[in-house]
């Protein structure tokens, strides 16, 4: 493994920020740390960067511990959430800064600045100062600055969350393309599941200082290991076995059943299917490409997502639904 985190522990005072975190990252991989705020994802990124020292555990690169290596000697590039460009330097000097610090020969610096600026399509902005750039341009320069010294690992700490929605979408695609082209090992922290699903090869779902599940986007969506992951990625109907008329057996008290809203099927109300459930429409929301329906089945609310516009289903209407067996997930409560 290229980058290995082994049993990382980190406490801030009495708060445990990271609790026995172990993870391995391949060379060239794009990994996202995903989780709600306060889950420890940024702390974990900072431990990798060397900006935080873990209380226990080890960080290894190619099998060698990085614990004795201060951040400035690790050669990991970082892009921060807030604009971190040095306000007293031009775009070119910002990008050249890391090269000067890493003692690149003078003759190699200017061409490299030019090269990374072309990567982020900002060659014409080299002489501008950060305050003359838009937020999106500033983050592009920050990306170019982080990439300039050819870092072993690229670390992105919520790089898009301070940007407008439209710029965010553009830059999201651009970062992903760049990463694919350069094959640089990348770790990104985000709280946005769509961002993680669009960009990451693998997603690390974190909660309260521990890793809940690691997997590619499809794995996480189709096979969440527990309630936390199921609810954090996509929407999920949760039903306790003991109160549900849903065809599944052998679920214990600590577990429940999850069904994705789009997996519930409508059936003919007058048909004679034995597995059909009847429910009353409580709410019907048109959301563009699909319609979200809140259905009351035996005083239990179920969400359904039906393709297209379903204005024919008014509040109070009765619907017959069917839950296919392969749509049912057995979910443990999140590991405590």
């Amino acid at each position: 493994m290229f980058l290995t985190l082994r049993n990382i522990e980190k406490r801030f005072g009495t708060v445990s920020a990271l609790n026995d975190v172990t993870l391995a990252i391949d060379e060239g991989e794009f990994v996202c740390f995903l989780g709600p705020s306060g889950c420890g994802k940024t702390t974990l990124l900072r431990v990798i960067a060397g900006l935080e020292v873990p209380d226990a555990g080890d960080v290894l690169q190619d099998g060698t511990s990085l614990l004795g290596v201060p951040a400035r000697l690790r050669n990991f590039g970082i892009v921060f959430q807030s604009y971190s460009l040095f306000p007293n330097m031009s775009v070119a000097r910002n990008i050249g800064y890391g090269l000067e610090c890493r003692k690149w020969p003078k003759a190699a610096i200017a061409p490299r600045i030019d090269e990374v600026l072309s990567l982020v399509h900002l060659r014409d902005q080299a002489d501008k100062f950060p305050h003359q750039l838009s937020g999106g341009q500033q983050q592009r320069v920050a990306l170019a600055r982080a990439l300039a010294p050819k870092p072993a690992v690229l670390l992105l700490d919520e790089p898009l969350s301070a940007l407008d929605a439209k710029v965010r979408d553009e830059l999201r695609a651009e970062i992903k393309d760049l990463q694919t082209a350069l094959r640089v090992t990348t770790v990104m922290v985000t709280h946005d599941q769509h961002e993680a699903m669009e960009m990451a090869d693998r997603i690390v779902v974190m909660n309260a200082g521990i890793i809940e599940q690691v997997g590619n986007p499809i794995d996480l969506y189709d096979r969440p290991v527990n309630r936390f992951v199921a609810e954090f990625i996509g929407r999920m109907n949760l039903v306790r076995q003991s109160t549900a008329r849903i065809p599944v057996a052998e679920v214990d008290d600590n577990a429940c059943i999850g069904i994705r809203p789009e997996h519930i099927e409508l059936v003919d109300a007058n048909g004679d299917r034995s597995d059909a459930l009847l429910g009353r429409v409580e709410k019907c929301v048109f959301l563009g490409s699909f319609t979200r329906i809140t259905l009351n089945v035996d005083d239990r609310k179920l969400l359904l997502e039906l393709r297209g516009r379903r204005t024919d289903l008014g509040v109070g209407a009765t619907l017959a639904i069917r839950i296919p067996a392969d749509a049912i997930h057995r979910l443990q409560d999140a590991a405590q």
Partner: protein, 559 residues
């Protein structure tokens, strides 16, 4: 990997030059603090406990039993308490007029109120003597015999002397207000007095307490004004001077110094403690209070503020006028004869002062900014200890520090003895006398820089020193200037610490004013004061223009 291997890899810590440069810089700022602050204090304390019979409280017992003791301590406390009460009330009213009314001419009035900061500390007393003294304008004109020398003279002079400090603190406290509270109170039908009592006063109580302790410290440690206008009314600060300079009794000077140090230190500790819990008074959702025009309130505010400013200006103006007449108040013909300075050294002390002040500005900016950067980087117990050491001088009265310097540096056994009697020791004394204030200005500017810049620089391979030099210092650049200006101004006008350190060859201007006044040469004393004020005004103007020209007109030069 086995446990053994993990330990081995951990032990293979690479040589980190960064850690060494931080340690080196920390030592570089700590050592001088020990030499120039801690050592003088220690020597002073030591001397105060040394008696012919060995170490003990003997000196204190002797002094406490003396007839003078009760009187001097009583005088000091009476003057400080009375002045503090008046100054805080007047300062609050003035700050209220500036911040909570829509009166006109706020800019001019606010500037006039700060004038005493830029004059030698005895100018107030000098002006009051010109007006109400034995040979003052009032007594001569109306044939009265008002006796201003003593308690009331000191109180009046010190009220004006300390007013700018109270005003700055209270103005900051009154500047922040949550409009939602005022609107709710109005909607609920609270009267104006009720709103003031229930909202304004409680929300500014920390400012009031802070101003109280700051003014108390300034007044109890003030030396210049009591010297000029105190007459026979002795206070602790003048008593130290009398003991040391008059009678050569260093031991008694040290004892009185410790007695002055205790209340001053307690007041400073109390003030710092109060300001630490000051933070949570304003939440993020607060709405700023908009001051609307209101005729009567604005008129009263303007009348009051103008009256205060008129008095402040009058005192300074009288000193200026007195310096330009033949013999105040008998012969009021315009004359420049007091500017010939036909005394020992002539105008030399002014040049000396400028030289010392420039040195203090240069050294002071470097040491305080270096200190602030080290404390910012060391976020641990060492950093906190260094922070404490850096603001310790705030608690040390100038007279006490100056006396400590004699004890430490006028000692042939000290390898730094060569400093004694030089201009450099005067500059260093000013640097460390005002170290707390300079350090806090530097800390405020350094802390305005987001730590993301440090981290970005570190991750790009920048060392601690490189980050400092290429990123932090260029960003705070103009603030470095404001630390320098602070030191320049303080060094031009200060009297208390350097009074013990000047020699005939290194006399500074503020001391000249005192000596001229002491010798009855009051008109020349006034002329010298005017020269000092002129230099300070010119310096401020130059920096203001330079800053504006470089596009940084927003940097505040007045602290």
């Amino acid at each position: 990997m086995t446990t053994e291997a993990v330990t081995a890899s951990r032990r293979a810590v690479k040589f980190d030059s960064d850690r060494w440069s931080i340690v080196a810089l920390a030592v570089a700022v700590t050592l001088p603090l020990i030499v120039f602050v801690v050592a003088p204090l220690f020597e002073l304390l030591k001397l105060s406990f040394v008696t012919p019979d060995g170490i003990g409280l003997g000196n204190y017992v002797t002094y406490v039993r003396s007839a003078k003791f009760g009187r001097v301590v009583g005088n000091s406390i009476a003057v400080a308490a009375t002045t503090t009460l008046i100054t805080v009330i007047v300062g609050y009213a003035f700050a209220y007029a500036m911040r909570r009314t829509a009166m006109r001419w706020k800019g001019a009035l606010g500037s006039i109120a700060l004038m005493p900061l830029f004059a030698p500390s005895l100018v107030q007393a000098l002006g009051i003597v010109f007006l109400f003294g034995r040979n003052g304008l009032v007594n001569r004109t109306f044939g009265l015999s008002i006796d201003i020398y003593g308690f009331w003279g000191i109180v009046i002079a010190d009220v004006f002397y300390s007013l700018p400090h109270a005003y700055l603190i209270l103005s900051a406290a009154l500047a922040v207000a949550d409009a939602r509270l005022y609107e709710s109170a109005q909607v609920l039908g609270a009267s104006r007095a009720r709103i003031f009592r229930d909202i304004t006063l409680p929300s500014t109580k920390y400012g009031i307490l802070s101003a109280t302790f700051v003014v108390f410290t300034i007044v109890i440690t003030d030396f210049g004004n009591p010297m000029v206008i105190g007459g026979d009314y002795n206070v602790l600060a003048t008593e130290i001077y009398n003991q040391v300079s008059g009678q050569g009794n260093f031991r008694m000077g040290a004892v009185i110094g410790v007695m002055l140090l205790v209340p001053a230190a307690l007041a400073v500790v109390a003030e710092k403690w109060i300001m630490r819990r000051h933070h949570a008074t304003l939440s993020e959702r607060s709405q700023p209070l908009l001051i609307v025009r209101e005729r009567w309130r604005d008129c009263i505010g303007l009348a009051f503020a103008s009256l205060v400013c008129a008095m402040i200006a009058a005192i300074v103006l009288v000193v200026v006028v007195a310096s330009f007449v033949t013999l105040w108040p008998y012969n009021m013909h315009v004359s420049l004869r007091h500017y010939r300075f036909e005394v020992q050294n002539g105008l030399q002390p002014l040049w000396t002062s400028i030289g010392v002040s420039l040195m203090a500005a240069a050294i002071g900016s470097i040491v305080t900014i270096a200190g602030a950067c080290v404390v910012r980087r060391l976020r641990n117990a060492t950093g906190q200890a260094l922070y404490f050491l850096s603001i310790l001088p705030a608690a040390v009265p100038g007279m006490v520090l100056g006396l400590g310097y004699i004890l430490v540096f006028n000692n042939p056994a000290n390898p730094l003895e060569f400093l004694y009697g030089t201009l450099l020791i005067l500059a260093l004394c000013n640097v460390y006398h005002y170290h707390a204030q300079g350090f806090l200005i530097a800390t405020t500017s350094v802390n305005q820089i987001s730590r993301v810049f440090d981290e970005a620089s570190t991750s790009l391979g920048g060392s601690f020193l490189r980050t400092l030099w290429s990123v932090i210092l260029p960003i705070i650049g103009p603030s470095i200037v404001s630390v320098g200006v602070f030191y320049f101004v303080r060094s031009m006008v200060t009297l208390s610490a350097v009074i013990f350190l000047v020699t005939p060859a290194t006399q500074v201007a503020a001391v000249s004013v005192l000596l001229l006044d002491d010798a009855g040469n009051v008109n020349q004393a006034a002329a010298f004061s005017v020269c000092i004020m002129l230099v300070v005004a010119l310096a401020l103007l130059t920096f203001r223009v330079a800053l504006r020209a470089s596009g940084r007109g927003d940097v505040s030069l007045i602290r």
